[in-house]
Amino acid sequence: MAEVVTRQFVPASQAAVKDVQLRQALRRAGSGFDGTRREAIAEVSEEVWEGWREQARKIKEHTIGHLDYYLAMLERNVAAAGGQVHFARDARQANAIVSEIARRNGVKTVTKSKSMVSEELGLNHVLEANGIDVFETDLGEYIIQLAEETPSHLVAPALHKTRGQVAQLFAEQLGVPYSEDIEEMARVARVALRQKFLEADMGVSGANFLVAETGSLVIITNEGNGRLCTSAPRIHVGLAGMEKVIPSLQDLAVFLRLLPRSATGQRISSYVSMVTGPKRAEDEDGPEEFHLIIVDNGRSRLLRDPALRESLYCIRCGACLNVCPIYQRVGGHAYGWVYPGPIGSIVTPGLVGVAEAKDLPNASTLCGACRDACPVQINIPRMLLHLRHQQAESNDENERTSSDTDKLLARGFANVMSSPLLLKLGRTVGRAVSKPLAKSGKIGETRLPLISRWTQARDLPVPAERSFRQRWRDELSKDGR
């Protein structure tokens, strides 16, 4: 599995917010994607859009609710089309299956089109350790592979890199002359990969959707690399999280409308490719073998908890990242694993364990922008709250976020707020304590623990001389009568 550094969220995000280039990149991408997304919605009208979201959510709800049934249907129909389905419990198993397929077929070169699941599995490293050359072919993925980094966004993996950084990277790694011309850089990638496409023995792709009715794998791409990876090599291996299945071919229509619009604002992507089994006898291109690997890798944990189940409806469009004020400040890498942003803050604890990712559900203001943007209406804030509750009240010390002091404070607060007497007393103490600290009614910078985290940037008001309830008794209650 890909390395997990989610524990480093605080220091990583502290560094990230100070990174001016990163902030610029995030701003450009975030407002760019979100702007075109909004235009695309306005074009079809809010009402039509809401209808689509509704429909898509229903489909997901039904499918995930009967996931075993549709996976079984999928398996039957892939087999009927001459392909093979393999089920993997975890990353290790999935990697072993791909390695075994490669070994049996004497595979030397693999071309890959973008797959978040393969990032999750850390597949490239495993294949490389087996002496196989692996080439990412999506431009963004190619860039981060050369840079030995991980993707920082669900749909734009190299979003954090400026053109200058890419130019530098290409010059160093590929020996081409330094050029910041983006068209030239795309050409460099085209030339570098063209031959690989035609000579690769195995193509690996992800899956945006799996259609149970027909046993088809659907990928949505723009560059054409996905078409080449799934058509040119002898073997095609598709990797998919088990939640990717939808029941009927007919269900695909609404997702083809929602996904590109939500992701980049495109009305449809350049290519939608539906692969159903290997090439048939009469086809002269296309792979001779088709393998589909269905991966659990922690997803059944999300499935098991009814409050988190809807996180599996996600179609990885990235819209929630583009509108998230936190993601927009800290970028994808701070989240410490493959899936960043609001949905990552739910999926990551689910897949790598709550204990590893304690910060993620808390690093949110619960502003709700993600839920409004989500094409399948996933209620992300509600799930973040659910995870916070699990963490605060967990019996497992490794998972618990609240210290004993936090608990005492919470209980104390509840006690004070539950008792008029304590509330009054609390006020008196509060005023007495804050008075010497305050200047003209406000507390400025101070070294007091806890409070200083507020006052390092903001003044803090002190309790008013008379509370509202006092003033109600003193003056207001009579006025109205």
């Binding site: 605080v10 995000s13 502290q14 917010v17 004020p325 936190i326 400040r329 800290v330 808390n362 690093a363 949110s364 203001t365 619960l366 502003c367 709700g368 922008a369 839920r371 409004d372 509600r382 709250l385 916070r388 699990q390 963490q391 605060a392 009240e393 976020t401 609240s402 936090d406 608990k407 919470a410 607060f413 509840a414 707020m417 539950s418 008029p420 006020r427 509060g430 406000k442 400025g444 806890l450 985290r453 507020w454 390092q456 940037a457 903001r458 003044d459 008001p461 309790p463 008013a464 008379r466 509370s467 509202f468 309830r469 006092q470 003033r471 109600w472 207001l476 209650s477 006025d479 109205g480």
Partner: protein, 256 residues
């Protein structure tokens, strides 16, 4: 002909206004009364439980929520001068009491009677019905106070109140409503988020301050004292020439 009976409403003032900003509560009462509302203040109330709920302390949050349900059981309407606390009562109580049928029913009952302050004015009392849309502010702004409005997240996305605050401000004499760029971006408060992740919160706050300055407003207003404490705390720290007022204070005609 006899007058229709006055609308009766209970004020849920919120703990932050009660303790830190009582003058806001006073303005709320004055505005409601000016519109003929028979306002009462159930004294059993304190905090709705949201700070605890958002930090994961459901047990404690439930205790406060039950107190709130008790205190407000007899009210026709409940008016809350905060989108955040309003959202807690209308939306999150249902989750909080998901496994507690009796309180769930009481929570749903309360939810149907809870209104955020501006929502109540607009929806129940029909105030500012004649003011249309966003650009009512046009007009002659000379001599008026230039006010810009920050829509707080829970008001906007949990309570779904978008238009009424702007409409009310537009209809307010002496006020020129000016646009806040990127208004719907979160200010970075988020309750305990502000102290748990101050480095992120402060970045968001800085951007909010920049857009406020950009708007050219004399005054920043919102329907939530939480966000305003956060925004105002930084305005005060940086000595920016912008006054910070809850929308009730502006509607109350109180000058800065």
């Amino acid at each position: 002909m006899s007058q229709p009976p006055p609308v009766r409403a209970s004020l849920f003032v919120t703990c932050i206004i009660d303790q830190l900003y009582p003058e806001v509560g006073v303005s709320v009462v004055r505005v409601l009364r000016r519109h003929g509302v028979d306002v009462d203040f159930p004294e059993g109330q304190s905090c709705c439980g949201q700070p605890l709920y958002n930090s994961g302390f459901t047990q404690e949050a439930r205790r406060l929520a039950i107190r709130t349900l008790d205190a407000l059981a007899g009210s026709d309407y409940v008016v809350v001068p905060s989108g955040s606390c309003g959202a807690m009562m209308r939306v999150f109580y249902e989750d909080l009491f998901a496994d507690d049928a009796e309180n769930l029913e009481r929570a749903q009952q309360l939810g149907s009677r809870v209104y955020e302050f501006t929502e109540f004015l607009a929806k129940v009392l029909g105030v500012a019905d004649d003011v249309t849309g966003d650009d009512a502010a046009g007009g002659d702004a000379t001599g008026s106070e230039k006010v810009t409005y920050h829509p707080s997240c829970h008001l906007l996305r949990e309570m779904r109140v978008r238009e009424s605050p702007r409409r009310l401000l537009s209809g307010c004499s002496g006020v020129a409503l000016v646009d806040l760029p990127e208004a719907e971006q979160c200010c970075g408060f988020g309750g305990t988020f502000a102290v748990k992740y101050p480095h992120i919160s402060e970045e968001m706050l800085a951007d909010k301050l920049a857009t406020i300055t950009q708007s050219g407003a004399d005054t920043i207003t919102a329907c939530d004292m939480g966000c305003l404490m956060h925004i105002g705390g930084a305005i005060s720290r940086q000595n920016l020439p912008v006054s910070v007022r809850h929308i009730a204070q502006i509607l109350d005609g109180e000058q800065a």
